[in-house]
C-alpha cells in the first residue's frame, strides 16, 4: 500500500516536471490506471513534442485513452507520416486534436486514402496538403466512400479539384451535400455542366457547403424550411428504394450468370 502511494507520488512528480499541473497530473494518472508509468509519460511526452499544450494533450488522451497503449515509436512514426503529407506545426496539432484516430488509424488504410486522393482524384500534393489541413478526417474515411464523394462533386456537380479544396468539400457529410445539391437542381438552380462547358451560372460550391442552412435556404435556394424538410425526407426514401432495387437486380443478374461462371463470385 505504501509502495503504491510512493509510486504514485513518483509518477505525479515526473508528470509535473513535464509541465502538467497537479490537477492535470491527477487526471492523467486516472486514465488506464494499470498502465506502467513509462508508457504514460512517453505518450504524454510525444504529444507535448508535437506542440500540444498540456491541457490539449490531456484532453486528447482523455478522449482516446487507447493512445496511451500505443508504443511511442508508432506515435512518432505517425506524426512523421502526417508531417510528410504536409501537415506541419499548428496544422498537425489541430488535426490530431480534432481527430485522435489519426494516430490509431492502420497504416494501410491511411496509405490507401492518400493514394486515392493523389492517383484517382488527382489532387496535387499542395491541394492534398490543404485538404488534410482543413479536413483531416478524410484519411479516416473508407476509400470507396471517399471516392464516391469526390466523383459526385466532379461528375455530377461538374466541380474541379481547385474549387473542391477551396470549398472544403470533405468537411460536409456526403448526405448533406447531396441534399443541398439535389434540392437546388430540382428547383432549377443548379445544372450539371455539359461536356466541355467551362462556365455555368451555378452557385459556387463554397457557398453551397459553407452557408448555414438558414442562409442556404433564403439566399441560394429561395425556399422555405418547411419545403426543405419535406424534400429531405422524400430524397432519403428515394435513396433507400434505389438501393433496394439495385440490390434486387444485382441478385437477378447473379442468378442469370450462375449458369456460366459459378466461380466468379464464390
Amino acid at each position: 500500500m505504501a509502495g503504491r502511494l510512493l509510486r504514485g507520488c513518483g509518477e505525479a512528480a515526473a508528470l509535473r516536471a513535464m509541465g502538467f499541473s497537479e490537477e492535470q497530473a491527477r487526471r492523467l494518472l486516472g486514465l488506464q490506471p494499470r498502465l506502467g508509468p513509462q508508457r504514460r509519460e512517453a505518450a504524454a511526452a510525444q504529444l507535448l513534442l508535437l506542440g500540444l499544450s498540456a491541457e490539449a494533450a490531456l484532453g486528447l488522451l482523455e478522449r482516446s485513452p487507447g493512445l496511451l497503449r500505443m508504443p511511442t515509436e508508432r506515435l512518432q512514426e505517425r506524426a512523421g507520416d502526417l508531417r510528410r503529407l504536409g501537415l506541419g506545426g499548428g496544422q498537425l496539432q489541430r488535426a490530431v486534436s480534432r481527430c485522435p484516430q489519426l494516430f490509431t488509424l492502420p497504416r494501410r488504410r491511411m496509405a490507401a486514402a492518400v493514394r486515392l486522393l493523389r492517383e484517382q482524384c488527382l489532387f496535387t500534393a499542395e491541394q492534398l496538403r490543404e485538404v488534410l489541413a482543413t479536413c483531416p478526417a478524410v484519411l479516416l474515411e473508407e476509400p470507396r466512400r471517399l471516392h464516391h464523394h469526390f466523383q459526385y462533386a466532379y461528375f455530377r456537380m461538374g466541380v474541379q479539384q481547385k474549387e473542391m479544396v477551396k470549398a472544403r468539400l470533405f468537411q460536409m457529410p456526403f448526405a448533406e451535400l447531396r441534399n443541398r445539391h439535389i434540392f437546388l437542381e430540382r428547383r432549377g438552380l443548379y445544372q450539371t455542366p455539359h461536356k466541355g462547358q467551362t462556365q455555368t451560372c451555378n452557385p459556387k460550391l463554397k457557398d453551397i457547403l459553407q452557408l448555414p442552412e438558414e442562409d442556404f435556404l433564403t439566399s441560394l435556394a429561395s425556399s422555405t424550411r418547411e419545403e426543405y424538410e419535406v424534400f429531405k425526407k422524400l430524397l432519403a426514401r428515394e435513396e433507400e428504394e434505389e438501393e433496394d432495387r439495385d440490390a434486387l437486380y444485382a441478385e437477378e443478374d447473379e442468378d442469370l450468370d450462375s449458369e456460366e461462371s459459378k466461380t466468379a463470385w464464390e
Binding site: 459526385y152 428547383r187 432549377g188 461536356k195 419545403e227 419535406v230 422524400l234 426514401r237 432495387r245
Partner: protein
C-alpha cells in the same frame, strides 16, 4: 341553337373538326401509387461521365416547362418544379359501396383526414373565431341588450343566409377522400378487397377530385364524363350516389378496358348497370346527343406535366409526337365544344387538365366561350370558383392569378396536381 338550323350547326361542327388529326389520347397518370415503378425495368444506369445517346423526352419536357412556366409562375416556379420532380402525394377516395367504417378508423389512426369534410369545418372555425372576436369587442353591433353580444355557440347557429359564401360553395355530395397532413409523406397501403370482393379505396391524386366536386352533381342528374378513362373521376362521380344516369366515354379502347376494370373492382353490379360506357370520339358527342345532360365533365387529354417530366414511357414530348402535342389545344377546344353542346340549357360543364399551361387552360376556355357565342348562339357564363378555392386552400396550393378557373400547383408540402379546372354554365 335552333336559330342556326341543323345545316348551319353541322357546318359549324365541320369547321371545328377541320384540324382533326391524330387519334391517340394521352394516358393519364397511372393507377397505383409508388414512384418510378415502371421505369427501372428498362432503365440503364446513367453513368455520370458519359453522355446519353439521345436526349430523353423527360428532359425535353422539363426544358420546355422551364422556358414557359418560369415566365408564367415567376417566383413560384422553383417550388413547383421541385414538386413535379419529387414523389407525388396521393389521396384515398373511399369506396362508399364497400363498408367503410373500419377503413376510416384505420386511416384516422394514421393521422389522415377526409379533406372534403374537414374543409368547411376549418373555414367555419376561422369565421366563428372572427365573429366572436368582433362581437367581444362590441363593434357597434346592436344586440338584444345583453352587453356581451354573440358567443361562439351562438355564432355557430348562424342562419343559412348569414353563412359565408365559402361555406355555401356547393360541391358534389358524399365524396370522401383521405389525405395525410401537410408535410407528411406517409404512403397509403394498397387497396384491399372486402368480403364481397370490392376494393376499399382508390388511390389517386387528390386534386383530381376538385373538378368532380366543382361539378356539384345533384340528385338524378344526367352526367356525361366525356374523356373518362382510366376512370378515377368516373369512380368519384359514382361515389356521390346521386347520378341519375352516367355516360362514361373514352376514345381509346385499351384505356376503356381500364375503366371497366375499375368499375368491376369498386362498384356493385346494380350500380354498374346505370353506367353506359362507350368508346367514341368525344368530339362527336355534341352531334349525337345534343343538349341531353345536366352535368358534363370534360377532363381532356393534355401534356400531363407531371408524367412528362418523370416517365419516359408514353411521353408526349418524344420527338415523333411533336405534331400531336402541338395539336392538343385544338383537340381540347373541340372536346370542350362537344361537351358544351351536349349540355342542357342551364346545365354545367367542368373542363379540367393536369397541365400548368395557359394555352391548354384559360385560352381554351376563352376560345370556347367565344365560339359558343359566335357560331352556336350559346351564351356561356364562366363561374367564379374563388369560394371553392378558399374552401380547400389548406389542403392544396392554389395559384392566385388565374384569369379564369383555378389551378392547383404542385408544392413539396402538398404535392398534388397540377390540376386546372374551370366551371361553365350554359345559359
Amino acid at each position: 341553337m335552333a336559330a342556326l338550323g341543323s345545316a348551319g350547326r353541322a357546318a359549324a361542327l365541320l369547321l371545328l373538326r377541320r384540324w382533326r388529326g391524330g387519334e391517340r389520347l394521352l394516358p393519364s397518370p397511372g393507377l397505383g401509387p409508388g414512384p418510378r415503378r415502371h421505369r427501372h425495368r428498362h432503365r440503364h444506369k446513367e453513368k455520370w461521365a458519359a453522355t446519353a445517346p439521345r436526349i430523353p423526352a423527360t428532359r425535353l419536357a422539363l426544358h420546355h416547362f422551364d422556358t414557359s412556366y418560369s415566365l408564367q409562375l415567376k417566383d413560384l416556379w422553383p417550388s413547383v418544379r421541385a414538386g413535379l420532380l419529387c414523389e407525388q402525394k396521393y389521396g384515398a377516395l373511399l369506396n362508399n359501396f364497400s363498408p367503410v367504417s373500419h377503413v376510416t378508423q384505420e386511416l384516422e389512426l394514421l393521422n389522415a383526414t377526409d379533406f372534403v369534410s374537414e374543409a368547411p369545418k376549418k373555414v367555419q372555425q376561422l369565421q366563428c373565431g372572427a365573429a366572436a372576436g368582433e362581437a367581444g369587442r362590441g363593434e357597434g353591433r346592436s344586440q338584444e341588450g345583453s352587453g356581451e353580444g354573440r358567443t361562439v355557440m351562438q355564432a355557430e347557429t348562424m342562419t343559412q343566409a348569414e353563412m359565408s359564401p365559402v361555406l355555401r360553395a356547393s360541391i358534389s355530395p358524399n365524396i370522401k377522400c383521405y389525405t395525410f397532413p401537410r408535410g407528411d409523406i406517409t404512403r397509403f397501403r394498397p387497396a384491399r378487397p372486402d368480403t364481397l370482393g370490392l376494393l376499399d379505396y382508390y388511390l389517386m391524386d387528390a386534386a383530381s377530385l376538385l373538378p368532380v366536386l366543382a361539378l356539384n352533381v345533384q340528385p338524378d342528374d344526367f352526367v356525361l364524363d366525356l374523356c373518362a378513362a382510366p376512370g378515377g373521376k368516373t369512380l368519384a362521380l359514382l361515389q356521390t350516389g346521386v347520378c341519375g344516369h352516367l355516360a362514361a366515354n373514352d376514345i381509346s379502347i385499351s384505356r376503356t378496358k381500364r375503366l371497366y376494370q375499375i368499375l368491376h373492382s369498386y362498384v356493385p353490379k346494380e350500380i354498374r348497370e346505370t353506367v353506359s360506357v362507350t368508346s367514341c370520339d368525344g368530339r362527336d358527342w355534341g352531334q349525337v346527343e345534343g343538349g341531353t345532360f345536366h352535368k358534363v365533365l370534360v377532363d381532356v387529354p393534355c401534356t400531363t406535366d407531371r408524367h412528362s417530366v418523370m416517365e419516359e414511357d408514353n411521353n408526349i414530348f418524344h420527338r415523333r409526337r411533336t405534331k400531336e402535342r402541338q395539336m392538343l389545344p385544338m383537340l381540347q377546344l373541340q372536346l370542350l365544344m362537344a361537351g358544351i353542346l351536349a349540355t342542357k340549357p342551364g346545365g354545367e360543364v367542368v373542363y379540367s387538365t393536369c397541365s400548368l399551361s395557359p394555352l391548354q387552360n384559360e385560352y381554351v376556355i376563352e376560345r370556347a366561350v367565344e365560339i359558343a357565342e359566335t357560331q352556336f348562339n350559346i351564351n356561356i357564363h364562366v363561374e367564379d370558383l374563388s369560394h371553392f378555392r378558399t374552401l380547400f386552400q389548406d389542403t392544396f396550393s392554389f395559384f392566385s392569378d388565374c384569369r379564369l378557373g383555378e389551378l392547383v400547383l404542385p408544392h413539396l408540402t402538398a404535392n398534388f396536381g397540377p390540376m386546372y379546372f374551370c366551371k361553365l354554365r350554359r345559359m
